[in-house]
């Protein structure tokens, strides 16, 4: 009975992660944020490990998506290099800020901005 439950759990996790990958490819991102709850609830990975494991899953997922976009001709080297360079610098700053800012307050502000920008993009 336990084995059946375990197999079912993995089938569900595979289907859900295929869906997350599809969304990540279609929208060019956002999959990592969906993977964290999937890992937490579906595969009982604790919060902090779920965040780290989500990166390990989303990295090959994003590479696969990026190759598909580039293969279809959607690619601009200069834009990618400029943004990626800024991203690495910003990432280091963000990691350094991590312990200094109240994470929950920042996350709430970030979520509000996402909702506002999302509504603007969808309807205006």
């Amino acid at each position: 009975m336990f084995v059946v439950k375990k197999i079912f759990k993995w089938i569900a996790a595979f289907v859900a992660s295929a869906a997350v990958g599809m969304v990540n490819g279609f929208f060019g991102g956002g999959g990592g944020m969906l993977l964290v709850p999937l890992l937490e609830r579906g595969l009982s990975v604790p919060v902090k490990r779920a965040h780290a494991t989500a990166i390990a899953v989303i990295l090959p997922t994003s590479i696969a998506g990026a190759i598909t976009y580039a293969a279809g001709g959607t690619f601009d080297l200069n834009v990618t290099l400029a943004v990626a360079g800024g991203c690495v610098a910003g990432g280091l700053a963000g990691a350094a800020l991590l312990g200094r800012l109240p994470p929950r307050a920042v996350a709430i502000i970030f979520a509000l901005v996402m909702v506002a920008v999302g509504i603007k993009l969808a309807f205006f």
Partner: protein, 147 residues
């Protein structure tokens, strides 16, 4: 000038990403709204721009033994789904894709907002009961804290 704007946009996304908040989701609207980049290209750039940063973050997490390797098989269907999703987006116009992306962003933001509020409430309750958590978020011990 445009390059400078792109670097600043990348940095903004990187700061959020470095804090573990999925900065990529805001990088895309920044690229389309502030730099006037086409929705499809913005999405492709987002996928590529986060690769070096995620690789560095991942190396650190592996070193700190935070990655649960037994969960990694789900990367296979996720990558396959990603290829399929990327193919599908080709058939959608930039305008429609942008609007769909906006709806997706709003839903993600709303979900994060709710989980933040739930998390804050739970933490407040836990503080009262005195349950302490270890570095990886697992409950290590339960002690009654008397004030």
């Amino acid at each position: 000038m445009k390059i400078a704007i792109l670097i600043i946009i990348g940095a903004a996304g990187g700061v959020l990403g470095g804090m573990g908040m999925g900065g990529g989701t805001l990088l895309i609207p920044l690229l389309t709204l502030a730099a006037g980049i086409d929705q499809h290209l913005a999405q492709a750039v987002n996928l590529m721009a986060f690769i070096p940063m995620s690789a560095a973050a991942l190396a650190l997490h592996v070193k700190n033994k935070l990655v649960r390797f037994s969960a990694l098989p789900i990367a296979v269907p996720a990558a396959a789904g990603s290829v399929a999703g990327s193919f599908l987006s080709r058939g959608v116009s930039g305008n429609v894709l942008g609007r769909c992306f906006g709806a997706f962003l709003a839903v993600l933001g709303a979900v994060q907002l709710v989980s933040c509020i739930v998390g804050t409430v739970r933490e407040a309750k836990r503080e009262k009961s005195g349950v302490t958590r270890g570095a990886d978020g697992e409950i290590k011990s339960e002690q009654i804290v008397r004030r």
